[in-house]
């Protein structure tokens, strides 16, 4: 009976979940992945000739998972509390939502603007563009320095955005179309990095200075009192005392 059940399950699985159609997109060598990672930070100069985009999904998928891991690490080190949901679910939802959602949206815009790009190529392009985000967040989640983040945001984030924009321009005809497509992509990509930095690694500076635990960051900061927290503590204490009396 087990054999019959197993046979039926495998037949259903092979019918409905045929992942073999994705097989060609995972056929890569380590050298190729490394080369594409480095290329994703170098903007191309030749925009009059359509640039080649590798339709590969291994590198982008690994980069999205890396971004998930970095986000999780950042949330854990800063003790971020997510009230409705889990840390893991939030991280995965954010990263995969960005990758799949923005790729689909850009593919739709590309269809409207007559750009020559397929869905897999768009996924691949945006996925490799997340390499800059991974580097920036990895560095700035561990070294808490706002101006360092802004430098990384402009330089590293800007380079990967420029690369994607240049490739898209090379595949689009017409000034208005190029402007729409590339402006949207640049805005979304840069704003996403900004959002990731500020939403997932809240560092409340005054409290950290007060505790001075083993996670003390290397840079000194000016101690600030946070009126919201101290008021909340005061109110809770007053309520507790009032209840006991």
């Amino acid at each position: 009976m087990w054999q019959v059940g197993k046979r039926q399950a495998s037949r259903a699985f092979s019918l409905y979940a045929n992942i073999d159609i994705l097989r060609p997109y995972f056929d890569v060598e380590p050298v190729q992945v490394r080369a594409r990672l480095l290329e994703s930070m170098i903007p191309v100069k030749m925009i009059n000739f359509p640039q080649k985009i590798a339709g590969e999904l291994y590198g982008p998928l690994m980069l999205v998972f890396t971004l998930v891991a970095i986000l999780l690490h950042g949330m854990k080190t800063s003790d971020t509390v997510i009230r409705e949901g889990t840390l893991m679910g939030t991280a995965i939802g954010t990263c995969f939502g960005y990758w799949l959602g923005v790729s689909s949206f850009m593919y739709f815009l590309a269809y409207l603007c007559n750009a020559q790009i397929t869905m897999v190529q768009m996924l691949s392009l945006l996925g490799y563009g997340l390499f800059g985000h991974c580097i920036t967040l990895f560095v700035t989640y561990n070294i808490h320095f706002h101006s360092l983040f802004y430098i990384f945001w402009l330089v590293v984030g800007g380079l990967s955005t420029l690369r994607m924009v240049a490739v898209l321009i090379s595949r689009t005809v017409g000034h208005t179309q190029r402007l729409i497509l590339c402006g949207t992509l640049a805005a979304l990509h840069m704003l996403f990095l900004l959002y990731l930095h500020f939403a997932y690694h809240k560092v409340v500076e005054g409290i950290l200075d007060a505790f001075e635990g083993p996670n003390m960051p290397p840079f000194q900061r000016v101690a600030r009192d946070i009126p919201v927290v101290s008021n909340a503590v005061l109110n809770t204490t007053a309520k507790a005392i009032a209840l006991t009396l």
């Binding site: 054999q3 992942i19 994705l22 995972f26 060598e29 380590p30 891991a69 999780l72 083993p214």
Partner: protein, 253 residues
């Protein structure tokens, strides 16, 4: 799906027989012998009761408790006699000697892995290791068995999909779960270290990185040798490293 000629999607599942366990592991990539005759158990000791050997040639497969095919003869071995029944551990498919052999393979990262050692889908060892990991976390004050279970389940499914896409021959889910479970062993060392010392300093970061590298290196080494994916060890190691990194995150924070 008889599988005794070896080429099916469930890699090596049914052609690993009990007689191979009588020979010690020498990692020389020996071929399988397909004959099922009489045999001795020199070092197995009391694992199979000796009177059982003289009664009938036992050709059942210890590692596949649900395997109902018998190779050559149609004799039924689990008869109605109480004495004819095999020992409980054998019937459940738990062989402690094999678990120990595979544990040693994981613990020596530089030793070349034999592709055949992970053929049978042995989930007893991985279960023990997951429970041990949860127990060490419990000793550190973190009751997170649910997280361990969820992450290992999702991670196994993810690795199964990825390896099936990347390899020419497919891989079975049991094999992936078994390999990933065995390679969780160094992570148990990390979480037991975390009971006594905090892992949040520089020393902890270096130790965590080393343990993650050890786990993913062992897992990728076994996958590469079992699936014959030459030159792609780094590509297999990286997703393993991400998975073990999540386990490390539970241990550290």
């Amino acid at each position: 799906m008889s599988g005794f000629d070896g080429f099916n999607t469930e890699f090596y599942q049914t052609s690993y027989s009990i007689e191979d366990q009588a020979q010690p592991y020498d990692y020389s990539g020996r071929q399988y012998s397909k004959h099922y005759g009489g045999y001795e158990y020199p070092q197995q000791g009391g694992f199979v009761p000796p009177d059982m050997m003289q009664q009938q040639p036992y050709t059942g497969q210890i590692y596949q408790p649900t395997q109902t095919y018998t190779p050559a003869s149609a004799q039924s071995f689990y008869g109605s006699n109480f004495e004819d029944e095999p020992p409980l551990l054998e019937e459940l498919g738990i062989n402690f000697d094999h678990i120990w052999q595979k544990t040693l393979t994981v613990l020596h990262p530089l030793k070349v892995a034999d592709g055949s050692i992970m053929n049978e889908t042995d989930l007893a060892g991985p279960m023990v290791f997951c429970l041990a990991f949860g127990a060490t976390l419990l000793l550190a004050g973190k009751i997170q068995f649910g997280y361990v279970y969820g992450i290992s389940a999702i991670g196994c499914v993810g690795m199964f999909c990825l390896l099936n896409l990347m390899s020419v021959t497919g891989v079975s889910f049991g094999c992936v779960a078994s390999v990933l479970g065995y390679c969780l062993l160094p992570m148990i060392l990390l979480s037991s270290f975390a009971i006594v010392f905090s892992l949040q300093g520089m020393m902890g970061i270096i130790l965590t990185a080393g343990i993650i590298g050890w786990c993913s290196f062992s897992a990728s080494k076994i996958f590469i040798s079992a699936l014959a994916m030459d030159g792609q060890q780094l590509l297999v190691a990286y997703p393993c490293a991400l998975l073990y990194g999540v386990f490390a995150l539970i241990s550290v924070f």
